[in-house]
């Protein structure tokens, strides 16, 4: 008879930059159950809508998470704009799209680095993060911030890009595209990486849908669902196509994110080419009244922003359902039956963002 034991995992763990706690129920070396417990980063941000007015709250929404910051600001603005029926100028929609795709590249490169680090592949970690610095430099040049840069406002954007900045972004995109090839080759073809990732943590397509997986997690299982296809902001004018893989294992999730980087670089160049001239914001009058569910595709998957206004400057309710909230139930299922040594890798391949989840 196998010996049952419970191993606590986290909150402070070398593989996770953020605290999350799991109770792993083991039979010998095999995990038979996992009970997630969160709450280490819960701040109660949704409650702040009652204290800050709806325009100020953009800054709070951007600080839900430091990695997905741009998207959270954008999703919140999108929801408020829909409630107030504001038509955002075309140039602002393109600018948002460019910053959003740059965020996706930076987030995926960050994740690739963490994955390499979790496998003990230190040089690959450093190389991914070195590439990521190029994107951060462009954020710095266009907005003045590296990570949290507050460019969105209700009704448009706060900053504009001139022609040199757009050319600089395209140049950075070209450089990354060239230099990422050895990194991609290593992630996709290296023997030790393959032996670590292939066949590990398989999520079947039907399970992925019914367990509510989103983003690269869902697409790696073969379901072509990418909210960008809805055509919000400027995505309607660009060539977006969901990147999918079929196997649903850790290797597929890695592959989907790698190809999404290439896709995002393409979209950045395309948007920089097509961007129209004009205003970057429209004045906002009055207060929001009504409700709306806005969906956007964050680097980690579909995020839902619910806004309910009552005609005053403070919103009644703001609700954010982040991709990681949806990805935790399938992760718990994947952990059942895996080996203890594989737990960090499986947790990492859902690309958990705990500060998003707990808000």
């Amino acid at each position: 008879m196998a010996k049952r034991s419970i191993i606590p995992f986290g909150p402070q763990h070398p593989v996770l930059p953020e605290p999350v706690h799991l109770d792993l129920v083991l039979e010998d070396e095999t995990v038979v159950g996992a009970i997630p417990s969160i709450g280490y980063i819960h701040r109660g941000l949704e409650k702040l809508v009652e204290k800050k007015d709806f325009k100020q709250y953009v800054y709070v929404a951007e600080r839900v998470c430091g990695i997905c910051s741009c998207g959270h600001g954008m999703g919140y603005c999108e929801a408020v704009e829909q409630v107030m029926e504001i038509e955002v100028p075309a140039r602002a929609r393109y600018l948002r799209t460019i910053w959003m795709e740059m965020s996706r590249v930076h987030s995926h490169l960050l994740w690739l680095g963490l994955l390499a680090d979790a496998m003990g592949f230190e040089s690959l970690f450093m190389e991914s993060w070195r590439l990521r610095e190029k994107i951060l430099d462009m954020f710095d040049a266009t907005t003045g911030g590296r990570i949290i840069f507050s460019v969105n406002c209700v009704g448009g954007t706060l900053k504009d890009m001139d022609r040199d900045m757009l050319a600089g972004i395209c140049r950075a995109a070209d450089e990354i595209e060239q230099e990422i090839h050895p990194v991609m080759e290593t992630f996709l073809r290296d023997y030790s990486v393959q032996s670590r990732l292939k066949g590990l943590g398989v999520l079947k397509k039907d399970d992925a849908v019914l367990l509510g997986a989103v983003g690269p997690m869902l697409r790696a299982s073969g379901e072509a669902y990418d909210v960008r296809m809805l055509g919000y902001e400027a995505y309607g004018d660009l060539d977006v196509e969901p990147v999918t893989a079929q196997d649903g294992d850790c290797y597929s999730r890695c592959r989907v994110r790698l190809y999404e980087i290439l896709q995002s670089l393409r979209l950045i160049r395309q948007a920089a080419e097509k961007i129209p001239d004009g205003e970057i914001a429209v004045p906002v009058k009055g207060n929001p009244k009504g409700e709306y569910f806005a969906r956007i595709e964050q680097p980690r998957g579909e995020a839902i922003y619910y806004v309910k206004g009552n005609g005053t400057k403070n919103l009644d309710r703001f609700r954010l359902r982040t991709p990681t909230t949806s990805n935790i139930p399938p992760m718990v299922e994947l952990l059942k039956g895996c080996q203890l040594a594989d737990v960090p890798l499986i947790i990492l391949t859902i690309d958990p963002c705990i500060s998003c989840t707990e808000r």
Partner: protein, 144 residues
């Protein structure tokens, strides 16, 4: 920076930050900023750490963790609060589940402001922490 008596080891903990400062702390270790050139290594083990970098405002779940990590570190030790949330609570100060800066729980030696704190200022804060570490060690040796 003058003479650096030895190579300090860092311990990083996220006490309910938004992740922004955390990835900047990690960024300090990567090729562009490369804090290792000062002989500094990031460790996951409090028993071997000299400098504790904390990000984010403390809440009631992270408070015991922060206190435990601090008590497990050998003396002399220096605490660096990274980011405005760790200094005062920042934008989250009014939240119901945020206590405020790290100094409401453990003594803080160096405050690094910013949202998110830039790698340059984090490195500056760490270099200041090394000086304080030297002073604390000198004082400890005198007592002994």
């Amino acid at each position: 920076m003058g003479k650096m008596s030895r190579s300090p080891w860092l311990l990083h903990y996220d006490a309910s930050s938004c992740n922004g400062c955390d990835i900047e702390v990690l960024d300090c270790l990567t090729p562009k900023y490369d804090i290792e050139r000062f002989g500094i290594i990031n460790t996951g083990d409090p028993f071997q750490a000299d400098i504790l970098l904390i990000t984010g405002g403390v809440n009631s779940q992270t408070e015991p963790v922060v206190k435990q990590l601090y008590s497990q570190m050998p003396s002399p030790k220096v605490v660096v609060a990274v980011g405005i949330c760790a200094c005062t609570g920042g934008v989250f100060k009014e939240c119901y589940n945020i206590r405020g800066g790290i100094d409401t729980v453990i003594p803080v030696d160096v405050y690094v402001p910013g949202c998110a704190a830039r790698p340059e200022s984090i490195i500056d804060g760490v270099v200041k922490a090394v000086q304080i570490l030297d002073q604390k060690r000198a004082a400890q040796n005198q007592e002994a």
